[in-house]
Symmetry: C2
Subunit: 328 residues, 2 copies
Amino acid sequence: MAEANIKDYVVGVDLGGTKILAGIFNNSLECVTAAKLSTKPQRGVAKVIERIARCVQDAVDEADLSLKQVSAIGIGAPGSVNSAEGTVIFAPNMEGWKDIPLKKELEKLLGIPVFVENDCNIGALGVYAAELKSKPSSMVGIFVGTGIGGGIIINGELYGGAGHTAGEIGHMVLDINGPKCGCGNKGCFEALASRTAMFQQIKNAVKAGQKTILTEMLGPDLTDLRSGDLRKAIRKGDKFVDKVVEEAAEYIGIATANIINILNPEVVVLGGGVMEALQDEMMSVIVETARDYAMAGSMRGVEIVASDLGDNAGITGGAVLARRNAKP
Amino acid sequence: MAEANIKDYVVGVDLGGTKILAGIFNNSLECVTAAKLSTKPQRGVAKVIERIARCVQDAVDEADLSLKQVSAIGIGAPGSVNSAEGTVIFAPNMEGWKDIPLKKELEKLLGIPVFVENDCNIGALGVYAAELKSKPSSMVGIFVGTGIGGGIIINGELYGGAGHTAGEIGHMVLDINGPKCGCGNKGCFEALASRTAMFQQIKNAVKAGQKTILTEMLGPDLTDLRSGDLRKAIRKGDKFVDKVVEEAAEYIGIATANIINILNPEVVVLGGGVMEALQDEMMSVIVETARDYAMAGSMRGVEIVASDLGDNAGITGGAVLARRNAKP
C-alpha cells in the first residue's frame, strides 16, 4: 500500500459567493472527481472556511483517496487577494471577508499546504496550463459571467501588479456616457456586456413592451433567466435577444481590441459562464470587432480563442497553482 | 591620452517625423551635449539614415569627443519596431519606412553597435531609468503629444508583447460614440486628448464663433498654435481654453484609471509635449479623475507622476538602451 500514499494528487478549489467547487486532479492535470457545496456566506467567515474544508474532504472521499495523497491545495477567491501571504484582502460579495488569512485557517483544518489567488487570475492560470499547455509567453483571460474579470500571464507567470489587483478589466471604461456600473462609474465594460448587463437590458425592454420568446419560456417577470435561455431564444429566431447578445459581443470585441492594443499578448482567451452558454453566438462577432478596432500591426501574431473549460477553469487553475507550489 | 579613448559615452537618438535629436550621455546618464537636425523624410529612407548618422557625429563633435569614445547608440523610432533585429517594421508618418534594417545601416555608417526600439518604449525606458532610478518593478509611461503613445515596464524590463507592439494605449477606445480617430475608429484616447484633438476642437469652435484670447494672440486662423499658447491663454483667464484643457485632462485621467485597473503598475508616468507645456494645468485633474475611476483597491500602492524629461525622454531612453546593451 506504500504506493497509494505517494502524494500524487492536488486539489483545486473555486470559492464563489454562491457555491464552492473542489476538484481532485492527477499528475496529468485531469480532474478525476469534483464536489460542490453551497457557500452560505451569511453564516460567517469561519463557517465558510469549514465548508471549504468539508468540500475538499468530500471530493477526496468521492475519489476513494485520503488527504495524505494530496500534496497541496490551490484556491481561487473572489475579490482582492494577497497571494504571497495567502490572505483575502477584500471580497465584495461575501460579508465579513476582509483581511482573512484563508491559507493559514485552511491549513489548520486540513493539514496540507494551501495557496490562494484571485479567482480570475486562477481561472487564467487554469486555461493557460490546461488548454494552452503553458506554451504562449503571454496571455490575457477575459471571463464574462455575472461580472467581468480578467487574468494576465506574462513570461509564463501570473502578473499581479503593485497590489495584486491587476486584471480588473471589467472596470475599463468603454463608453464614458454609457450605463451606470455597480462600481459607481459609467460605461464600464462590465456594465455593457456582463450577464447582469444583458439581463437588465432585456428586463427593461420587456417592461417597456418589447416582445420576446423569453416571456413565453419563463413568464412575464423572466424569473430564473439564465444565459442558456438567451441561446435558446436566439435559436428559436428571437431577433430582439439576438440583437442584445450581438451588442454585448461587440463590446467584448472592443474590450479585446483595447487589451490587444495595450498588451499585445500572444493569446486572448474568452471564458466564463456567458461565453460557455453563448460561444457559438458570440465568438465570430467578438473576433471580427476586435480585428476592426485593434491597430493593424497589433493583431499580428495574436490569437483570440474561446475556453472550453467553462466552470472548471477555476478548479483547474487551483490545481495548477497547487502543483506549481507543492514541494516535490 | 589613453584615458580619452575609454568608451565611456553612449549616444541616445530620438528619430521623429520632423526632427532628429542626438544626445551624448556620460556614465552617470547625464546628457553632456545634444544636436538636432530636421528629418526631411521626403528625401527618402537612405538620406534620413545618413542624416541620423550626421546628427550623431555633430553631437559627438560638439562634445569634443570622437566616435571611438562611444560604446553604443540607442535609437527610438516612430512606429512598430522589431527590437531584436533592429528593424523598423512600419513608420506611418515617414514615407517608405517599411522593413528598414536601421541597426545594420547605421552600424555600417558609424562603426558602433546600434540598438533600436519604438519611440514610446524608449521614452518609457528613459523616464524609468533616469527619473525613477529603475526602482519600481512595473511602470507605464503615457506620452501625450501630437498623438498619444505608451511604454510598459514589467519586472524592470520593457514589455513588448507578441509582436513588439504593446503600449498602443492611444487607440484604447474610451468613448464608443466619440470623435473619429486617424486610425478609423471612434472615441480613441488619442482622438479625445492629444494635442491634435484639443487643437481641432478649438479651431472648430472658433469657426463656429467661439471667442478666445488665442485669436488675439495668433490671428483668426490660429496659425502656429502650440501647447504653450493654451497655457498662456489659461493664465490670461480664457475660460474656453481652460475647459478644453480640463476635458482633455479628464480623458487622460480615465485612460490612466483603465491602465491602473488592467495593469496595476507601481507607477504611471505622464510625459510628452502636452504634459510638458500644461503639467500645472492638467496634473491635478488627471490624478483626481484617475482616483475616481480606478477601483478602490487598484489605486493602493500606485503612484501617478509627471515626467520632467520633456523632449529629452527619447534621447535619455536611447542612452539607457545603449548602456544596457553595450559590451563592457
